[in-house]
Symmetry: C2
């Protein structure tokens, strides 16, 4: 009945929290979601396919895209660029499919700036005690380094404010179910659908 | 881990849309939800219990509660008052339980004014064509009455703007699942939980 656009979902959170594992389990359950395909300047490897594994572009093309704001986010890593092309995301959303992007916190904040209408999900460590223990239990680290890591953790928590949802990754299955609830309920949000209901009603009632 | 307050959910929509049926099916599935108990000035009937079926109060007490803004909404019906007592709702929420309120559109708008932090769900007729057909097919009605009903339907759709979610009641089971997704995902919203995560982190990290 409703001719709806897709929604961009961004799954993010501190490194090591299990973003990739949750994303994989989610895609096994939900085959309707489209995974956002990244663009890169690194050479194509044997067995990889253009438009499936990555979009492969030259450094020059990539930098032009940066200039023209054609990337929702990008970063440089070991001398190569990696980024999320805006056009691919928008075309997929316009075709009515949801796009799912799994990404580090810094990248998510860039996406937030370029695509605020996305739904931002923060994946939280299974327990904060565990986080603390993990930091402290690296016995060889100096006291300064422990302090730095605690500060970094705090900063990451502060970034949570840019997100719409917080999901604790205690058990993968539970976390995936929660993300699925978010995907379903976001499609029911009045801001997204009311205009179309009204349009249909106007057309219907003349 | 998270010591969370409950959430007030309001299920509403045009009369005849099936609010009661959806609510009953939801309560069969989810035994954790608490149904909001109304207050009334009508006499207690045989077999009814105070605090289970209704809170029974005198007209004087009820009117004092209206005066003191102790009701989230109220209405008069066949000479008796019916309303939703704020204290019962707040005590239940403070105990960590969700409260579920099923109510007409006018009542929901009153609740919205008195308790904007509630989550408002608009139940939509199975199809708009059906709505139109229902109105027109009452063959005995004058053309004026049909026009009035179409206008009323339009007004009800306008009221949708006060709601957070829209759920189409096409199949009861589907509608109930959607409401359940909303209940689950609202508990994951960052505004509700971030403060507590931060508090725990501060305590943990010292």
């Amino acid at each position: 009945m409703i001719d709806e656009k897709g929604i961009l979902f961004i799954l993010s959170g501190p490194s090591g929290v299990g973003k990739g594992t949750v994303r994989k389990a989610l895609f096994e359950r939900d085959t309707e979601l489209k995974y956002s395909i990244s663009m890169t300047t690194r050479p194509q490897r044997n067995g990889e396919n253009e438009g499936i594994d990555y979009f492969y572009r030259s450094k020059q093309v990539f930098e032009e895209m940066i200039e023209n704001n054609k990337l929702l986010e990008y970063a440089e890593y070991v001398g190569n660029y990696y980024g999320t092309p805006r056009d691919y995301v928008e075309e997929t959303l316009n075709s009515g499919k949801d796009v799912f992007l799994e990404i580090e916190v810094q990248g998510a904040l860039q996406v937030k700036e370029n695509f605020p209408e996305g739904v931002f999900i923060f994946l939280f460590p299974p327990s904060l005690e565990e986080l603390k223990n993990r930091i402290i239990s690296r016995g060889t680290e100096t006291e300064d380094l422990v302090t730095n890591r605690l500060l970094a953790a705090r900063e990451e928590i502060e970034m949570m404010d840019a997100y719409d949802y917080v999901v604790v990754n205690d058990k993968i299955e539970t976390a995936v179910s929660k993300v699925q609830s978010i995907v379903r309920s976001e499609h029911l949000r009045r801001e997204r659908v009311a205009k179309q209901y009204k349009k249909i009603l106007e057309a219907d009632l003349g």
